[in-house]
């Protein structure tokens, strides 16, 4: 990573963290729905996303990859809208190459394979990165997608964020395998393990996978070992299952602290710039949240885009809703 990239990474990582915090507050105020913070996984998310070409390559998210989406151009207000429960937040701009947030664990993995396959069939050399967790890796979709990827030799990076937990289920109860990455050979794809809290390492390992993918050498399964520094989501109380002191111990490996320390030690960063950056982030997050909140969801979101043209019955149901709700202020 270049010096500039390092600072960029720090910028995205801290923005992600600030947005997390803002969103958490909004959730507590009842202004935003249940959501899962990235906290602790910013190096893993941002470092990997930076290894792909923005505007050409594709991000296939699960739900905990805000930083990757930001790197690839997702407008922040859309992110807020989505988690505030406004369907228009799911409308990713045409020039942003991101698939929708995926709530169904691992269901996006075959999508990533199909997407990469489609682009290759059109003689395009786009690469696709798909994010998912240690928990999601136990789903059948993981297996089927990786096996298809191997056979089809498609340019997909399966980026497994092993953050130690699937809600309350520890990694040790998720599989008896010694690593997740070792599954790669069972599909004839490349495999790699990386310290997910080291943004440079994540970037480098992903970069290699991208190069292989772009060169038509197929897919890679990357296990990024990181840690979820907090509850699973805003509805979760992790003190019920995380051993006392564990979060505090793991907080010492906070990837943001680590990168900041590195930047400062290299003379690339200082307290003053940091304060300014964070203040800017706070303004940006605040601004995006306000913009998002101002765009009230319209009743027609229920009906629009179910089909290209509604079925006769759906059209009737929409007309009925229009009669009931069409006059409400939006």
């Amino acid at each position: 990573m270049t010096t500039e990239q390092l600072v960029d990474a720090y910028t995205w990582m801290t923005l992600s963290r600030v947005v997390d915090e803002r969103a958490f507050t909004l959730q507590r105020q009842g202004r935003l729905g249940t959501f899962s913070p990235t906290k602790g996984q910013e190096a893993s998310v941002v470092g990997s996303a930076m290894a792909l070409t923005v505007g050409q390559d594709w991000i296939v998210p699960q739900y905990r990859e805000l930083g990757a989406c930001l790197v690839h151009g997702l407008p922040l207000d859309l992110w807020f809208m989505y988690w505030m429960g406004n369907m228009s937040g799911g409308r990713i701009p045409d020039d942003v190459r991101i698939l929708p947030v995926q709530i169904s664990l691992a269901a996006q993995l075959p999508h990533a394979v199909g997407l990469a396959w489609a682009r290759r069939l059109q003689n395009l050399d786009d690469v696709v990165i798909a994010y998912f967790g240690d928990g999601a890796s136990s789903e059948g979709d993981f297996h089927e997608a990786l096996n298809f990827a191997g056979v089809l030799r498609v340019p997909v990076i399966f980026f497994l964020q092993n953050n130690g937990w699937a809600i309350s289920t520890p990694r040790s109860a998720q599989t008896a395998a010694t690593s997740f990455a070792c599954r790669a050979q069972g599909y004839g794809v490349a495999g790699a393990t990386v310290d997910g809290n080291d943004v440079v390492a994540v970037y480098e390992v992903t970069k290699e996978a991208v190069a292989r993918a772009r060169a038509d050498e197929g897919s890679t399964l990357i296990e990024s070992i990181t840690y979820r520094l907090g509850p699973h989501n805003t509805a979760d109380d992790h003190t019920r299952y995380v051993a006392e002191g564990e979060m505090e111990t793991m907080a010492e490996f906070d990837p943001i602290v680590r990168l900041r320390t590195h930047l400062i030690s290299q003379g690339l960063w200082d307290e003053h710039r940091d304060t300014e950056l964070l203040a800017g982030h706070a303004r940006r997050a605040q601004q995006a949240a306000v913009t998002a909140e101002a765009r009230r969801p319209h009743y027609s979101q229920v009906f629009d885009h179910v089909f290209a043209r509604p079925t006769p019955r759906l059209a009737r149901q929409a007309a009925e809703a229009e009669r009931r709700h069409g006059q409400e202020p939006s």
């Binding site: 959501f35 429960g85 369907m87 799911g90 136990s138 019920r240 299952y241 319209h298 229920v302 179910v306």
Partner: protein, 326 residues
Amino acid sequence: MTTMNMIEAINLALRESMYADDRVMVLGEDVGQLGGVFRATAGLQAQFGRHRVVDTPLAEGAIIGTAVGLAAGGMIPVPEIQFLGFAHQAFHQIAGQVARFRHRSQGRYPMPMTIRAPFGGGVRTPELHSDALEAQFAHCPGLKVVAPSNPADARSLLIASIIDPDPVLFLEPLKGYRLVKGEVPESAGGDTIGSARTVRAGDDVTIIAWSASVQLAEQAAVRAGEELGVSVEVLDLRSLIPLDVTSIATAAAKTGRVVVVQESPVTGGFASEVMATIVEEAFYDLEAPVQRVGAPDAPYPLPGVEEIYLPSVDAVLAAIREVTSE
């Protein structure tokens, strides 16, 4: 009598069932140490141990698939699917295996199993957590589908489901988990699966509903009395499979004016089965077309517009008005 909410009633029933029969075991995502994301299984692992309350890896197909093997091997599994939407990952195991094993083996391998899952909307969840999908499972021959609306029924029907020698999909209304409170008797009694219950007597209109829609029906009934002077009877189906055809026919015939309320999208929902049953069993008693209230034929949307999506008391009232208009 104790007052409790749905979650407490379910927790109680699980505890009673596990205490009564040590073949009963609970398995699923986050059911053990955490006690379930809604705390339905809270305290069970501490009481019955890690062998009988098991945190599994994250795979719904295998949660149900291993439950098939557990049942074949002599246990009485009570798997939890964290949200009904994710039972789709196990649809092949539920429809193709659980429901058919007794028939396939002509009785050699019965499937005493109760699959618990919360479902339904109104609590501002992320996508795929709120759809009312009961109709998809009510058309899987060999599977029973139970859907209580209140704590007393949740407790007695869950116990009955676990005792039942056949597989039951036990649907718990997410919205009612904490919101719906009610009296629960000391003893669970011998409730049976397959019987509907009149939860409110009335003379002019019959509303038929199940699960969370029963509360909607009751609210509409009160308002119909106050605002329209219409006396409304409410029949709570409690179980979709077996369907209490007799009670449906009786309740429909009593007033001749019927409204069926479901939370799911209209087309192909279980209300259509109830209507078909009424046509078959009580056609000549009908005074007006049966009215159907449900969600539009769209996927459950994000929370911002869920109140528009979900059937409302107003919509039920409009149906009552319609069915009494001629």
